[in-house]
Symmetry: C2
Subunit: 367 residues, 2 copies
Amino acid sequence: VPTPFLESLESLESLVTPALVVDVAVLDRNLAAMAQHAAAGGVALRPHAKTHKCLQVAARQLSLGAAGLSVATVGEAEVLADGGIDDLFIAYPVWADAGRAGRLRALCERVRLTVGVDSPAGAAALGRAVAGAGSPPEVLVEVDCGQHRSGVGPGAVAGVARVADDAGLRVTGVFSFPGHAYRPGAPPGAAADEARALGEAASVLTDAGFEPAVRSGGSTPTARHTGAGVTELRPGVYAFNDAQQVWLGTCGIDDVALCALATVVSAPAPDRVILDAGSKILGADHPDWAPGHGIVPALNGALVTSLSEHHAVVPLPDGARRPEVGERLTVVPTHVCNAVNLVDELAAVQDGDVLDVWPVAARGANR
Amino acid sequence: VPTPFLESLESLESLVTPALVVDVAVLDRNLAAMAQHAAAGGVALRPHAKTHKCLQVAARQLSLGAAGLSVATVGEAEVLADGGIDDLFIAYPVWADAGRAGRLRALCERVRLTVGVDSPAGAAALGRAVAGAGSPPEVLVEVDCGQHRSGVGPGAVAGVARVADDAGLRVTGVFSFPGHAYRPGAPPGAAADEARALGEAASVLTDAGFEPAVRSGGSTPTARHTGAGVTELRPGVYAFNDAQQVWLGTCGIDDVALCALATVVSAPAPDRVILDAGSKILGADHPDWAPGHGIVPALNGALVTSLSEHHAVVPLPDGARRPEVGERLTVVPTHVCNAVNLVDELAAVQDGDVLDVWPVAARGANR
């Protein structure tokens, strides 16, 4: 199943493999479709920057009407703020210790900052950290809607909110991440779980005297199933898509905007080839239900069945031609967020040419 | 099971989490033990630098008698050569295309370079690439000893070697990687497979008129089972060890020299805590047989049961105390090579203090 992207491989000869390459036309189509979906549903779109970590993609998302960006770490927020983005939500239960307090205060001075909390201790620490900031951050309380990762049950949000309020923070709503959607068949139910949990949590906050205007949720697989009452969506992967989304049914292979450009380095048996795109460029993500470690569209959708740091083992499916050693192919990573975080730059391809090189500005910004 | 490393946590308050931290005393013990093992067996040790990507560790390995370093990419070789290391083996079937030819020639001029090949096409391309270099690289032919990744069967090495020879390269032996050792119970058998395959391949080369002085193999799990006839070992992980090696029985938890320093950011239920060490610092490696995504030694050896990009979910084992939000803990990554490749620096801890910061000089050097 060749994509427009894959047809331009010859023009990518200037790149040394393995490299991550973005098809800008597919990217722009993905960004526009999600922006239209959010607008049609009357919800704000706050894309998660953890997927691309890239100012060029963030700028495109904002120009299509995004309310701001979501990030996972203080470090990611700093990189986007340095890039001129002025409305950021750290969608994570930030622990505001000595290594983060001054940085959070500095962010408050230059952007509209919203921070996640999910514990009384975390809320109190955040309040202490930003005390004295001219414009303290807004706070959203994290709700567990079924993934059982971070976040409290809807009934427990008021206790966290009161501590945040006492600490001088302004509680403006609740947020959730429906991570249990990442399993085939699960997205619609997970979206419903999330809408229900956010609604219950918002009611609890209202009853406790707060005004929870924001009910922020969503992910790429649940976005199309957005439930009633959700006011903001935070999908990330949709910008590029990846093999996991193809396998979940969230997108088609033609909607994948980022691939690893790889070289066949070995063809030691008639029925398999080895590519130089290993886990140090694709990422090692492999959900227990996933059929492979990546997809090679040009070989009849062949799967990467085994992944080492610098080797992808690709058995040839029935009817697929056998590529030669030295031939270039593209591989769709299983989870694009971890792939992007492995490289310093993305090659942006448009109309068959390398248009630009986009720095992965927030690569490694884990802190 | 607290390790010496873990007892020094209080002194690491200056670090922002998540961070990768090296216990230098454990590292040095691991390096010395492998050096002694190789010396006692009369085999050369050529540690694989892909694990640490770090000049400080490479220097320690060389000072303990290593013959040189192994690397996986031309880029890694360049970083080590820049650091003054003068004997390097690219243990990979390098495809010497336009983006690598000049770089390989430059490496030939400044180090004793050995390069892997496993196909006639790859050998011919390498010969063309380095034609005219003052001192062409030595070549080892890769043999598949049971992993069925790259490498040819022992009977096919002569065909590859002849093309290399015709292309002006000097074939000095064979190499293999016993990757099928990475499964509980498998290391002794995989080591035997490798010794047999290298021996057969060397005989084939000898019969074809070559002098295969080098039979290079080995990995961390097979190193202690080194088979007769192997002349060189290339383990990488042994420097730091990791959870995978603990689960394979290659080492004990006290032999782990590298951990992620993490913070408890959420404790939303009595039976689990959430740490800020996710797949963007631990790596997402998770072999199908592995019991978890990492180990938390200080919580009775609790396992990370679920890993997101910035969250590790840790159910508390029976009898483990419940840590508070804000508390710091260490996590042993499943596969240390991919963890190290995610960060720009390692904090080197000795006698309870951060002694130094070691740049991960070859991070991201995939090409």
